[in-house]
Symmetry: C2
Subunit: 266 residues, 2 copies
Amino acid sequence: MSTEPSTKKARTHPPYELLYWPTLPGRGEFIRLVFEATSTSYTDVSNESKDGINDVLAVKAEDSTGDSDGNPPAFAPPALRIPGEGKGGKNLLLYQTPSILSYLGDKLGFAGEDEAERHWIMSHALTALDLNNETHDTHHPVSVAKYYEDQKEPALLKATDFREARLPKFFGFFERVLKGNKSGDGKYLVGGKLSYADTTLWQVLDGLLFAFPKEMAVRKKEFPTLFDTFYPSVKEQKGIKEYLASKRRLPYGNGVFRHYEELDRQ
Amino acid sequence: MSTEPSTKKARTHPPYELLYWPTLPGRGEFIRLVFEATSTSYTDVSNESKDGINDVLAVKAEDSTGDSDGNPPAFAPPALRIPGEGKGGKNLLLYQTPSILSYLGDKLGFAGEDEAERHWIMSHALTALDLNNETHDTHHPVSVAKYYEDQKEPALLKATDFREARLPKFFGFFERVLKGNKSGDGKYLVGGKLSYADTTLWQVLDGLLFAFPKEMAVRKKEFPTLFDTFYPSVKEQKGIKEYLASKRRLPYGNGVFRHYEELDRQ
């Protein structure tokens, strides 16, 4: 995987290290998109080195009470390691996607213009991540540790409810947020510029288009601001456009966004 | 419902208004605990006035594109309204429990001593709220809009996995966080004083003790720091102790934490 060329921004920011599972977008993708949209240099540890996965396993090890730098253990990846930014100039380690997004949003100017915008951005990103979790549960409604094939019957029930009740509820909400934000022209959820709320929602929509193509072909027409203005606009943003065309953008596989024909609209 | 006596803190803070469903603790409880633990005056709108529920319904109305103060709509309660703190001195409206907790944590000195602690507190609170969501899904694994009785079969499967795999995973994690935080003496997740991570985790543990009494009687013994030190310590904290003895603390009912004998350990 190629590394970013050194830029001014890269030199003025600490060497951010993303700790996440290799080969799939997953929840790590919400964090990658923030780096890419702000042209910030980062290391995707498990994808860029063969032994990188050991760092991921170490922070979530089920016997860890934290690391030698005073950081607590992580419940699950993704985690973000920031050399020099922790207690006493040591490494800082953060986990939980919304906490990492909020941290990076503040540092990289990707979290709005004032306190109100900052919190609306956090709230909308959390709602998009709730939709991400509900998507996961369509194929794993009973147990995250068991195979899809062993929970297929409840998955069919869950996916039906998700498609019929939850998708329109979430899409309708974001359509209204976009319409209510006059300075966003349908392109931004909050204010007049891109934020991590936008990239987070965009990623969930993109994953849903992969996982539920038949359902989404119908839903797209019901929420025109979301799908005709917002979705294509984020895709064309500086940094995002180049990223999506690069090898760093990983294909969907057996993560949150999976395509099972039987769970899609029949 | 009685209102708090005016205190110095009450007079120096804006008039916080919690917008949540009446009569049950629910997700509103995580926010109430922050106010109570910091002796901060607040209005619990739907519980303190007969028409208060209309304010809750208005912020989540499914045709709203936001209010006349420039705030976006809320996806779901709880929401927090803070007169005078929004754009141009208007009302600020926030939604999403973790976003409200983070806002209040900063304002009320209930979010740690520095940037690292602030984000660890957010991360741990998010993890406790994930456990809260998984608890909800034990009785509603297929559809939030349908009755428990109409999804009882998958609920039995989900609750079994939750009790056997998820509870020990979450409890084991928090046990390790408590052990790793040397300055907390088992009483605080981060640093040497109470934060919204502690009150949030405490509320989830308390709800689980109500919902799964047989399972918890066994699990309690496996995680002694969590249940013999942390849980009773939070309960005795200034503000919390008085609150729990007051009429403002609402009983569990048909919310996230429900007791169904068939979902508990057999």
